[in-house]
Symmetry: C2
Subunit: 356 residues, 2 copies
C-alpha cells in the first residue's frame, strides 16, 4: 500500500475553529481513508473533540499551540505574535519540516499568505506567489489565478502564474494539456494593459508543450468556462471573484423574492423544489471551497473562513488530490522547462523579460 498523504491542519482557523475542523476531517476520511493528520491547536480544545471523533484521532498527531491567529489580525500583527508558535504557523512549518505534504487553514487569508511566504519562500525562478481559485462554470470548473496575492503583476509574473495554473489544472482536472487564457478587455491583440500584451507574446513564443495557450479571454468567459485556466493579476482577479459572488447572491435574492410573491409561484416552487435543490447544489460555494497558494515551496490551502465541516472537507480533499497527482513536481518540471531547458527564443525572451 502507498504511504498515506500527510496533511497538516490549523485546527484553530476559521470563524468556528476546532468544532468545525475536526468534524471536517472526519468527513474527508470517509472519502479518502489514506490520510494522516498533523493537528495544530489548543490541546484543551482539540483533545476532547478528538475523543468524540475516534476515527480522526486514530490517524492524527496533535501538537499543542498556545497561540491562535485571529480572523481580524493584520498580517503584520499575525507574524509578530504568531511566528514560530501559532497553530497557523506550525501547520505551514510542517511542510518545511517534511512532516506534512500539504497544509490547510480556514484562518485569515492575509496572515496565512504572509506566514506561508515567510516560512516556505518562493520556488526557484518564481518571483511572487499567486492564489488560485476553483471557479464553477457552465462547462464544469476552471482555475482562476491570481485572486489576490500579487497586486499589479508584471508580464513575467503573469507567465509564471500561467505555468502554475496549468500545472494545477493537470493535477486537479486530470487534463493532459489544459487550455489557458489571459484575462483582458477585448479580444483583439491591441487592447488592454501592456503587461498582459507582453505576457501574451511571451506565451505565444514559448509555445509550451504542457498547455494550450489560446490567447486573451474576457470577464464573461470565466463563467462560460471557455478555458481551463484564466490568468490575471491579483487586483482584477480578486475583483472578478468578488463580483461573481455578489452577482450570484443578487440573482438568488431576485429568485427568492420572485418566488415568494404570489401563491401561484409558491405552488410552482413546491413542484419545482427538487430542481431548486439541484440548483442550490450547483451554486454551493462549499463544493469549491479553497484558494490554493501556488509558487511557494509547498502547497497551502486557504479554506473559506465561514465554511462548515462539509466545506472544510472539500478543501482538504483538494489538497489530497493535488499531492496524489504530484502538483509540486509538475510545477517544478514546468518551471524548469520554461526558464532553463526552453527552446531557442522562448528561454531568451523569458530571461530578458525577467531582467527588465
Amino acid at each position: 500500500m502507498d504511504k498515506p498523504v500527510r496533511i497538516s491542519l490549523d485546527v484553530m482557523g476559521g470563524d468556528e475553529g476546532a468544532p468545525m475542523v475536526i468534524p471536517g476531517a472526519e468527513i474527508i476520511l470517509q472519502r479518502r481513508p489514506d490520510i494522516a493528520f498533523e493537528l495544530y491547536g489548543d490541546e484543551a480544545v482539540v483533545a476532547p473533540l478528538l475523543e468524540r471523533h475516534p476515527k480522526v484521532k486514530a490517524v492524527s498527531t496533535l501538537h499543542h499551540c498556545d497561540v491562535s491567529v485571529r480572523m481580524d489580525d493584520l498580517p503584520s500583527q499575525a507574524l509578530r505574535k504568531g511566528r514560530w508558535k501559532s497553530s497557523m504557523w506550525r501547520a505551514i512549518e510542517a511542510i518545511k519540516a517534511d512532516t506534512a505534504d500539504v497544509a490547510v487553514s480556514a484562518g485569515n487569508t492575509g496572515a496565512l499568505m504572509a506566514m506561508s511566504k515567510f516560512c516556505l519562500r518562493s520556488m526557484a525562478d518564481i518571483e511572487r506567489p499567486a492564489i488560485a481559485a476553483i471557479w464553477p462554470t457552465l462547462r464544469g470548473e476552471s482555475i482562476v489565478l491570481d485572486v489576490g496575492a500579487t497586486i499589479g503583476a508584471d508580464s513575467s509574473q503573469l507567465v509564471d502564474f500561467t505555468i502554475l495554473g496549468g500545472a494545477m489544472a493537470r493535477a486537479v482536472f486530470g487534463v493532459e494539456k489544459p487550455t489557458v487564457g489571459l484575462l483582458n478587455i477585448g479580444v483583439e491583440e491591441v487592447k488592454g494593459l501592456e503587461e498582459v500584451r507582453t505576457a501574451g507574446r511571451l506565451l505565444r513564443e514559448a509555445d509550451l508543450p504542457f498547455m494550450d495557450y489560446t490567447g486573451f479571454v474576457e470577464g464573461n468567459d470565466i463563467g462560460i468556462g471557455t478555458v481551463d485556466v484564466v490568468v490575471t493579476e491579483g487586483f482584477s482577479g480578486n475583483i472578478a471573484l468578488k463580483t461573481a459572488e455578489g452577482t450570484a447572491r443578487q440573482l438568488a435574492g431576485y429568485l427568492r423574492s420572485s418566488m415568494s410573491r404570489s401563491w401561484m409561484a409558491k405552488i410552482g416552487y413546491m413542484f419545482a423544489k427538487g430542481a431548486f435543490d439541484r440548483l442550490r447544489v450547483r451554486m454551493d460555494p462549499r463544493k469549491v471551497n479553497g484558494g490554493v497558494f501556488l509558487g511557494l515551496n509547498g502547497i497551502v490551502i486557504k479554506s473559506h473562513g465561514g465554511t462548515d465541516a462539509e466545506g472544510f472537507a472539500s478543501a482538504v480533499e483538494l489538497g489530497y488530490d493535488m499531492v496524489k497527482n504530484g502538483l509540486l513536481e509538475k510545477i517544478s518540471a514546468d518551471v524548469a522547462h520554461y526558464y532553463r531547458d526552453g527552446t531557442a527564443g522562448s528561454a531568451e525572451a523569458a530571461l530578458e523579460a525577467k531582467a527588465s
Copy 2:
C-alpha cells in the same frame, strides 16, 4: 412650454442599424414626447423607414451620410474613414455644433470613444474620459465607472471619475448626496493599489459637499448596491462588468437546465411562470442599456450593439433624463469646486496630485 430635448442619433449604428433605431425612437417618443431628433444615416435606408414611422418623422431632421462605421472597424480605421462624414461622427459633432444636447449610438464602442474624444475633447481639468454603466443591484441601481475607457487610471483620474459619477447619480437617480465608494480588494485602508489608496486619501481630505465618500468597497458590494457610485479604473471595471454578465448568464443556464429536467419541475415552472417572467424583467439587460461617456465636452451614450428597439429606447431615455437634469452643468460646477474653489487643503492636494 420648455423647448424640446435635442437628441442626435447615429441611425446606422448597431448590429441591426436603422430598422432597430427608428422604431426605438418611436418607443421613446411615447414616453418622452418633448424630443427633437437629429438623424444621421443613409437617406436611402432611413427615409422609407421614416415614412412608416410618421411620429418620428414629424420631430426629426434627417442628414444624409455616405459613410457608416462598421461594428468591427478598429478605432483607428473608423477615424480614418469616418471622420467628418460618417453617421457616427456627425451625430457626435451635432453636440459640438450645439444642434443636439446629447448623442446616442449603438455603434462600436472603440470607434465611438475615439471619435468622441477627438471631436468633443476633454472637459477643463479632466484629463481622461470614463465610461459609466448603470448596474442593477439588490437595492435598485448603481453607477459603475470606468468600465473600459481609461486603462490604469492614476489617483487624480480616479478622483475625477468620482466627481463625474457623483454628478451622474444626482442627475439620473435624483439623490442629493450620492454615496460613493472606491473599488478595492479588502476594506482596510492598507490594502490595494497605491493609486486607489491615494485617491481615497484625496477624497477624504476634500470632503466634497455634493457626495458622501464612504471609503473602499469590494466586488461583491456592487451587486448588493452598497453605494450609489462605484469608482475604479477601466481595466478592472470592464472585467467586473463582463464577469457579472457571465455569471448572470451562467446562473440562468443552471436554472433552465434545473427546470427542464423533470416533469415535476416543468409543472412547477408553469405555476411559477409569472414569477420567472418578473425575474427575467429584473435581469433584462435592455432595461439598463447604455454606457455613458463622461468627462468630455458633451454627453455621448453608447447603446449595446446587439440591442433591440426597446433597449435603444432605454438608452435614449437615459440621455433625455441627463439633459433634463442638467448633468453637464452639475459636472462643471463640481469639477470647478474641486479644482478651483475647493476649501484649503483639498484644492492644494488636488493640484499637487495632478502635477505629480
